[in-house]
């Protein structure tokens, strides 16, 4: 029986999630297997995961997945038993099959059409791989040979309309119509069973031992007419029975498409019957007549093409759109975000909440009969409350933390396929996979990371010959690493390739008018040019990189997460991209500072140091531009009160405090009156009810309940340079 009930959808979600995990294990294992073909444990692991997918998908009625995975499993089994050896071609076949399972599951999820051709081809290949063995398992090969993979349910492919009027003596002979229905159901999908009670006489005239009822129903089954007739064998005598083939499966699909194209209600056996079926049921036309009529009926697209209103190409595109639209809402529905949490984390949280409740009751107890001499106790309790709250906050945030390994998992496969495609030898080294990061961040860094890895593989790593000429090992290395640094997560993508080409970047930048011909740029400034929109130094646009998504998008994506990207490169030695990301999105560590009466929050990440300068360290250029000498380097000074047009307490840098802040490109010293302290703040949106404010990254609620602004360092520099947008 199919489980397409609403009630099962929640379990289905869990199935899809689990299947994805198992698939990841299979894929990872297969990649590993290519390197260690003899690893029996690994094979067992892969087998177990494949088996789990098969079992679960069968249970949920995703038979296409189950059947296909079964074929994979058969091959895996013979590898496991040592009947076959793991060869590169087998591993490759299994990898491609894994992809196929992935798409099958995807289409089960979105109920989209299945690419039958690929499935069939791979099924055949798997069968061939199985058969090529000296002792083929007869069952499995036969199995693959005869049984085509069907995308739909197992209950068959023909729809019969059955009308049954049992004889009046039915009950007298001890026959139960229910039994007949049970038998019919065992043949396939029995739907649309309706009982005709029109022959029932009034109660006074009713003979309870007679049967006055008749039924109509539809049976979707793979069995033939004989099998259905045999169900009625015992009641056949004197019964009025008609069994008509309404549609075969292929036909019903056509009918469905036709119905959709002519925008009548879609064919659904359980709700609305198609016209043809009703006509047949009413005995107005014979099934054969209907089939002929249906055969002549054309689809809207076809008619339009014949009338030369559209080209078949256009129809095809429109149909494509239709399919996408069909698929989209469903996939949206099933894509509910969920998170798997370690039970230990939840237990800890429950304990903490318990403690919080205790502290709260102690406090309210104290409060109900408070005397001044109990003040120390109260303060002590408050400290406890604060500790509880902070710990709960940390724990709750940690629920959102997921190891970054999930984002890295796709890269071994990617690099394997890439190296084959671009004809280079590349090994990928992953480290720091256990580093935890906010789930949202992990989801959003996938694409930028993929782009960087593709870039390294395509542009960074040289072809094997060139590497050998340069006395480098033939196999290039791409390293992905993740680690904590301060309040940040750093992710590095490092290659030992040729490094960025300074001259080529400069030439390109001049050509595009990004910089002038005689501009003097530091190395860092040159490297950051590659993040400019429309900048690609790739000599040739390949399938791999140089496509739509540029480095500018990478940078923008990372910045949207309040992160930064930096580049280190040595010509001939390699390039390292470093992504610095905040641990979480909602909360940042901030330094609260005061200017006059206003309180601002400076993100702690951007603060390098704070200094109270000696007068002689502050110099001016052309009378206005102020610079401060910080251990030999002159850094521009930005007076926050000038930028924000507010009233400061101090206007003399000697009395004020200078915070040295860093952005990717430069350092700047921001002048404030006083540093108040350090605290974690929850970021609130300004855009929600207002709009973006220059120089302000967001707002937060301060300890006293008022609103404080979180400074946006780069915005500040912009205002300082170009004047403030309103006053100007």
């Amino acid at each position: 029986m199919r489980m397409d009930n609403e009630d099962f959808s929640q379990f289905q979600d869990a199935f899809f999630e689990e299947a994805a995990e198992h698939l990841a294990v299979v894929e990872e294992g297969l990649l590993e297997l290519e390197r260690h073909p003899e690893d029996r444990d690994l094979l067992n692991k892969i087998f177990r995961s494949a088996h789990s997918i098969k079992g679960a998908s069968g249970m949920f009625g995703f038979n296409a997945v189950a059947q296909f995975t079964h074929k994979m499993e058969t091959l895996l089994d013979s590898l496991r038993n040592g009947q076959k050896a793991v060869s590169p071609s087998v591993a490759d076949l299994l990898l491609r099959s894994t992809d196929c399972v992935k798409t099958l599951i995807q289409s089960a999820k979105t109920r989209a059409a299945v690419d039958e051709e690929t499935v069939q081809r791979l099924t055949a290949e798997l069968a061939a791989a199985n058969a090529s063995d000296s002792q083929p398992s007869a069952v499995s090969t036969n199995d693959t040979a005869v049984q085509p993979v069907s995308a739909g349910n197992c209950s068959g492919d023909r729809v019969y309309a059955i009308t049954w009027t049992p004889p009046e003596w039915l009950f007298l002979r001890g026959l139960d119509p229910l039994q007949t229905f049970k038998e019919l159901r065992s043949l396939g999908d029995l739907t649309g069973v309706t009982m005709d009670t029109s022959r029932l006489p009034d109660l006074a005239d009713l003979d309870p031992e007679k049967c006055y009822l008749s039924w109509t129903m539809q049976l979707t089954t793979g069995k033939d007419l004989k099998a259905i007739e045999s169900v009625f064998e015992f009641v056949r005598e004197d019964s009025k029975l008609s069994i008509a083939l309404v549609t075969s499966k292929g036909e019903s699909e056509h009918a469905q498409k036709r119905a959709a194209a002519t925008s009548t209600a879609a064919f659904d056996t359980e709700t609305i019957k198609p016209l043809g079926q009703i006509l047949v049921e009413d005995g107005l036309v014979s099934p054969a007549d209907l089939d002929r009529a249906l055969a002549q009926q054309k689809r809207v697209g076809q008619i339009l093409v014949e009338q030369k209103a559209v080209t078949s190409q256009q129809v095809e595109e429109a149909l494509q759109k239709q399919r996408q639209q069909e698929a989209v809402p469903l996939s949206k529905k099933t894509d509910t975000a969920s998170i798997r949490v370690d039970t230990a984390k939840i237990d800890k949280l429950i304990n903490l909440v318990g403690e919080l409740v205790i502290t709260q009751s102690m406090l309210s107890d104290l409060g109900s009969r408070f005397e001044m001499r109990q003040l120390p106790v109260l303060l002590e309790r408050m400290v406890e409350l604060e500790r509880n709250t902070r710990e709960i906050q940390e724990r709750v945030m940690s629920i959102r933390m997921v190891p970054i390994g999930t984002a890295f998992a796709r890269f071994p496969r990617l690099v394997r396929d890439l190296s084959a495609k671009v004809g280079k030898k590349i090994q990928l080294v992953l480290s720091g996979e256990e580093t935890e990061l906010d789930k949202t961040v992990i989801e959003s860094i996938g694409d930028p990371l993929t782009h960087l890895v593709r870039n390294s593989a395509d542009h960074g790593i040289e072809p094997p010959e060139e590497r050998l000429d340069n006395n480098k090992p033939e196999v290039g290395t791409i390293r992905l690493n993740a680690f904590h640094e301060g309040g940040n997560i750093c992710i590095t993508v490092e290659d030992d390739g040729r490094g960025l080409n300074r001259d080529r970047i400069l030439a390109k930048a001049v050509k595009h008018g990004v910089i002038g011909e005689n501009d003097k740029l530091t190395d860092d400034q040159i490297w950051s040019l590659i993040f400019k929109p429309g900048f690609s130094t790739a000599e040739k646009v390949t399938d791999v990189s140089g496509r739509g998504v540029g480095m500018d998008v990478v940078k923008r994506n990372i910045e949207n997460l309040r992160g930064t990207v930096s580049i280190k490169t040595v010509t001939g030695r390699g390039t390292t991209f470093t992504l610095k990301l905040p641990l979480t999105l909602a909360i940042i560590d901030g330094m609260t500072v005061r200017v006059g009466k206003e309180t601002y929050i400076v993100p702690l990440l951007s603060i390098l140091e704070s200094i109270q300068p000696k007068a002689e360290l502050v110099k001016t250029v052309v009378g206005k531009g102020e610079l401060i000498n910080v251990r030999g380097t002159y850094i521009p000074v930005v007076r926050l009160y000038e930028v924000f047009a507010s009233e400061p307490e101090y206007t003399d840098p000697k009395e004020a405090i200078l915070l040295v802040l860093e952005t990717e490109e430069e350092h700047v010293a921001v002048m404030v009156d006083e540093i108040l302290g350090q605290q974690q703040v929850v970021i609130k949106s300004m855009e929600q009810n207002f709009r973006k404010v220059e120089g302000v990254a967001g707002a937060t609620i301060l300890g006293d309940g008022t609103v404080g602004f979180i400074l946006d360092v780069r915005g500040l520099i912009e205002i300082a340079r170009h004047g403030n947008p309103v006053a100007a």
Binding site: K684, M686, N689, I701, T706, F709, V726
Partner: protein, 172 residues
């Protein structure tokens, strides 16, 4: 929040015809001696004046932002917006929290008055003072007894018609 859930058509009707046929209820408030009204369905709440945080580099009528149970809400001082002299805030000074499209904003006014039922026949179009006085943000002039109520079109008052991104019109 009623304003936010109001169907688009209804809202358009409100904006164009100004009001529904049998008139509406208006929350009225004072600025000096003058009486103003806003459609009661657009009012989310009224709260006493609390200190706001000034937003840097914004025009003077944008008083600042306040923390309304965790959301950041911009507050507009209507006196400044209308170019009237500012006064010291008193115990009667309140912030009327209104919903403008999907945004929540506060209006600082001298004092709230009554909720008035004003019939359509008692509403006349906003007078035309030419260039001298800008009254484009008025829906009309309502009469209630011997009182004159200027009925505000808060969408036009608080949203910049040229730019959807800049909700509070910057031109003072």
């Amino acid at each position: 929040m009623a304003g936010a859930v109001m169907g688009k058509e209804t809202k358009d009707l409100h904006q164009h015809a100004g009001l529904s046929a049998d008139g509406s209820q208006f929350l009225t408030f004072r600025l000096g001696e003058e009486l103003y009204g806003v459609d009661i369905l657009r009012v989310q709440e009224i709260k006493g004046y609390t200190a706001v945080t000034k937003i840097p580099n914004t025009p003077p009528h944008i008083k600042g932002v306040l923390n309304l149970r965790g959301t950041i809400v911009p507050v507009v001082e209507l006196r400044t917006k209308f170019g009237m002299p500012t006064i010291d805030y008193t115990a009667f000074t309140v912030i009327i929290v209104v919903v403008v499209q999907d945004k929540v904003m506060g209006l600082v006014v001298d004092a709230v008055s009554d909720v008035l039922d004003i019939k359509m026949k008692d509403i006349q179009p906003a007078p035309d003072f030419g260039d001298k006085v800008d009254v484009t943000f008025l829906n009309g002039i309502g009469k209630s007894g011997n009182k004159l109520v200027s009925l505000l079109d808060i969408d036009r008052l608080l949203l910049d018609p040229d730019s959807k991104d800049s909700p509070v019109a910057d031109a003072a």
